[in-house]
Symmetry: C2
């Protein structure tokens, strides 16, 4: 008869041996059941007994010990998902985290603030992840990828505008956002198009490709049109300064980087006496609810991050079959929502 | 002479034995130097030689192995910091992460989406953290705290409105935001005050204490005033519906939960023909830049999260000296920014 009482307070955590004893099975059986190993034939009643014993004892496996035993971990590192473009990534990463958890991975969010890419790769490698999704604001180097791979990572995946040699890529091609905005403005007959470039340093990674996409859209069109970069800080005085030079610049349209900068600039243009969209068409990006409250209502490039294969299953596949050629999957689906401002 | 070439490509990671061989010292010396152990006397030149050898080889310590050896880890779990109130927490958590990294902790962000508190505690315990900061949207139970403590966590700290028995608390008392807003409206002579309560489920944890604080501010005042809860979804039709009933409700002021809901409601009230602040004063919270673009400019409760002791050092102290009584530290510093709307 077992002498174990469930959950003895104040003592150390129960081990898998305790679970085995309470359930009356071997440690191997406990391991098979709790790791959902279905290759070994174990009756449903035994599986249930092991699960109940683990629950009664409050058994917590040790991820570190488990990964040392197994030779590789089930840990996947995801970026913590800071701003900018936070909202766009946040929902995607939350879904990805849920999907990976369902596939029995341990998901760890990693910030990497204040580190360069190689430092970050070293810190990540310390956790011996089996897969790493690297955020856009850290441009992984071949050195960092090597450190991660040699520490046991079977899949290194970048998430963002810039694929990196030797890593898989979930590509969020921000150029498409700029291209969609400018194609829309050209279709509305606008020919002299400003493109807002935020001066806050964190935005450069998104602003640069959006501007490049805007330029490309003009080049690819038959229209005799031009694009001009408009540096802007997210401050009223910066917007007022830009608005005061608007007539001199001779612009008849602006892609304002995103909806927040668009709201800032719209207010300043209206205060400077310009009529929207009569004098100047305005389009943002992100399709914020707040943009619909503007008068005129703000046009915007709506964005979604989706993928043919569910990203969690893709990562699982890359982990199961390492060594294949780097894969590229495009996630960003932009779509113009034309309202009154353009 | 050493046969080791730095960074052999494609092979497995170098071990501390490799570092010891290249530096010509013992493995113990490598361990002392790389763990910044200053209790052992080691010359500066030896320390430098070890560090250079580690850098040349691309040596990455294994956090899991290190924590198994040491008996406890240097891993601190922080919440991933999802919305709502994301912006408020994000800067705080980023600073905390940097501070902990400087103190040589490994910081891991943990989401916990889709898990209940006990499940989350079990998953966290698998990583054997030495300290856990638990987010507001997971109400840790004594059971969960027990699991974490027995798995080696020396400090379990909640971050949010609700302290939990048996854990330290970084208290973000949202009641103070509601109280500040309503005290301001009372001081402006308003007596019939609506308080917006968002209907989106994620907001309940913040909306409830903000409403409670608003009620308390009226109770504590001498004024013959009343507070009324106003359910609102973050949608134009919901705001229009509320605005159409505004005169019947007889409200002369509203604390609109935050600046985004305030912008939504302001637009609907103005479209319904109400004059702000003449008919109704409006105040939000969060002090967003966009609120300043409204006409009239939006009043707001600005918020900051600060602490007498630096939070990273506080956590380090709690880790060094476990077993003390639960500590409470209030982080939220609200301040009314009165503009034109109130």
């Amino acid at each position: 008869m077992s002498q174990l009482s469930p959950q003895p307070a104040g003592t150390s955590l129960p081990t898998s041996a305790d679970v085995a004893r309470l359930a009356g099975v071997s440690r191997a059986t406990v391991s098979y059941v709790l790791n959902n190993n279905t290759t070994v034939r174990i009756s449903d009643s035994t599986r249930r007994r092991v699960r109940e014993a683990a629950a009664d004892l409050g058994y917590v496996p040790h991820a570190a010990a488990r990964s040392l035993r197994a030779g590789h971990s089930r840990t996947v590192l995801l970026p913590a998902g800071q701003a900018p473009a936070g909202a766009l990534y946040q929902r995607f990463l939350t879904q990805l985290e849920l999907g990976l958890r369902r596939l029995d991975y341990t998901v760890v969010r990693y910030g990497g603030v204040g580190q360069d890419a190689d430092e970050a790769a070293m810190t990540w490698a310390e956790l011996r992840p089996v897969a790493v999704v690297s955020p856009d604001d850290l441009a992984l180097t071949p050195y960092g990828i090597g450190v991660l791979t040699r520490s046991g990572a079977r899949a290194v995946i970048t998430l963002g505008s810039q694929p990196v040699d030797g890593a898989h890529a979930l590509v969020v091609d921000q150029r498409e956002v700029g291209a969609h905005a400018v194609r829309h403005l050209l279709a509305r007959g606008r020919r002299s198009i400003g493109v807002v470039v935020p001066q806050e340093p964190g935005h450069a990674l998104i602003a640069r490709p959006r501007l490049a996409g805007a330029l490309r859209a003009v080049e690819e069109s038959d229209a005799d049109a031009g694009v001009r970069a408009l540096p802007l800080r997210y401050q009223e005085d910066s917007a007022q300064d830009l608005a005061s030079r608007w007539r001199t610049l001779g612009l008849d349209a602006v892609f304002a980087y995103d909806d927040e900068y668009a709201m800032l600039l719209t207010r300043a243009l209206q205060d400077a006496g310009l009529v929207i969209p009569g004098d100047t068409a305005v389009i943002g990006a992100g399709d914020l609810m707040l943009g619909r409250l503007l008068r005129p209502r703000l046009s915007s490039v709506a964005m979604e991050l989706t993928c043919e294969q569910r990203p969690a299953e893709m990562i699982d596949r890359l982990v199961q079959n390492p060594g294949g050629p780097p894969e590229r999957h495009h996630l960003l689906r932009p779509a113009v929502v034309a309202r009154e401002s353009s």
